[in-house]
């Protein structure tokens, strides 16, 4: 690095001023000279000169952003510990996502996180492939298929034994070849078995979780309809009213009924019913 040592910064103030500076106001300064001093001090701040550019460049968010974009993840993490404004720029979602994805050349990272510390480490251990368990799969066969160690699959999925994988919907497989990540989309998920947040890659490109949650949603739609109908009958009201009471009690029919009778009582009290 060609930068000079620390001594330079301290010398700044001793350098003869490049821009015309007023001499320090005498102790018995009158209003005129002190106001002109402060005026030119303000002007100095906006002029790029050896006198004052040092800190303002580092306090400018745009500049900081450009600088941090060139930092790898560990340095970005350390930069966020320097001071408040650095922390704010270095913890910005776009900034950390970009730094996280850059070395692996990911196309996109999707997901909501519980804590920002996930972004501070982008080692290959943060990534995994999601493998849907099919008939005939075993840990050993998967280890062969993905060129990883049986031990590593078991560790990642918190498996005590080699068996029992059929009780799970999927297994997470550690990444053996990072090239698979290039131009891919990763989903940040908290895996229940791994008990931590993982950036998951779906090899078929289709996100299984989305499909299964869609399925769940449709069955509960049918269930919701049933609840609505029974509520309607017991309250002896129209669809809209029943819908309203269900919605304010978050789908709980018992609570909906009690709220409804409460409201009825109030109406009778004030003489509306």
């Amino acid at each position: 690095m060609g930068c000079c040592g620390d001594g330079d910064g301290g010398d700044d103030r001793e350098h003869p001023p490049q821009t015309p500076d007023p001499s320090p106001p005498p102790p018995s300064s009158d209003a005129a000279s002190s106001s002109s001093a402060s005026a030119s001090a303000a002007a100095d701040d906006s002029t790029i000169s050896p006198m004052n550019s040092h800190f303002s460049a580092l306090a400018c968010r745009d500049t900081l952003r450009l600088i941090f974009e060139k930092l790898p993840v560990p340095d970005l993490a350390r930069a966020s510990c320097v001071c408040r404004i650095w922390s704010s720029v270095a913890s910005d979602r776009d900034m950390v996502t970009r730094a996280f994805a850059a070395p692996w050349r990911l196309k996109e990272v999707v997901g909501v996180l519980s804590s920002g510390s996930f972004w501070r480490d982008n080692g290959v251990g943060k990534f995994a492939i999601s493998h849907r368990i099919k008939r005939g799969d075993s840990v050993a066969s998967l280890a062969v298929k993905y060129s990883v160690q049986v031990m590593d699959i078991k560790r990642l999925n918190n498996m005590m034994s080699d068996h029992g994988i059929y009780s799970r919907e999927r297994l997470l497989i550690p990444i053996s070849n990072p090239d698979i990540l290039i131009d891919s989309t990763c989903y940040i998920e908290r895996d229940n078995h791994a008990k931590r947040e993982v950036a998951v890659l779906y090899p078929e490109g289709v996100r299984d979780i989305e499909i299964s949650s869609l399925l769940k949603r449709t069955t509960s739609e049918q269930g919701k309809k049933r609840i609505l109908n029974s509520l309607r009958r017991s309250m002896q009201v129209d669809d809209g009213t029943a819908q309203y009471y269900l919605s304010i009690t978050d789908g709980d029919p018992r609570a909906a009924l009690s709220k409804f009778s409460e409201d009825l009582r109030w109406e009778r009290q004030v003489g509306l019913a």
Binding site: G2, D6, Q18, H54, C60, T63, K70
Partner: protein, 164 residues
């Protein structure tokens, strides 16, 4: 095709190869720069295209000292027939300066919108930051901040692993 040898206040519409633009720094110093070199700066490029460049361009935010070096940079990068390696070496020497000057360049490049200089400056600063602990960074760039001890603890806690 003849053009005035040093036309500091050229008002001729057709662009001539050796057309010079004059810039004036905040402290009144003037500098001449070839139009091709000036095109490195998006700010100046816009002015040239809108024909405001026929007269002196004041650059009120930059002092003469910094502006001189910026002009030098633009001229060097506008030169034809310079291979990448020697240009890279020239760039390295250009940024081998103290921090204050380096930040002067960055701010000037920001103001004048010179992507090459901005990139070079920021990369140099990034290289300075790499590998340093937060305390070292603070010392290097003389950042004295108003972080309360509690805030510092909080931030450190989040990033504890980075200190190992």
């Amino acid at each position: 095709m003849s053009s005035p040898p040093s036309a500091s206040a050229s008002s001729s519409p057709p662009p001539c190869p050796k057309k010079m633009i004059t810039l004036r720094s905040s402290d009144g110093a003037t500098f001449e720069i070839e139009e091709t070199a000036a095109l490195q700066s998006k700010t100046l490029e816009n002015m040239i295209h809108e024909n405001c460049a026929s007269t002196l361009i004041p650059v009120p935010n930059i002092t003469g000292e910094v502006l001189a070096r910026v002009v030098e940079f633009c001229s060097k990068h506008a030169e034809a027939g310079v291979d990448d390696e020697s240009l890279g070496a020239w760039d390295e020497e250009f940024v081998a300066v103290d921090h204050t000057t380096l930040f002067d360049y960055i701010r000037a490049a920001n103001f004048l919108e010179i992507p090459t200089l901005l990139d070079l400056g920021c990369q140099t600063v990034a290289d300075m930051i790499k590998g340093k602990t937060p305390d070292e960074i603070k010392k290097t760039f003389k950042i004295t901040t108003a972080c309360t001890p509690e805030e510092e603890e909080e931030v450190r806690g989040e990033n504890q692993w980075a200190f190992e």
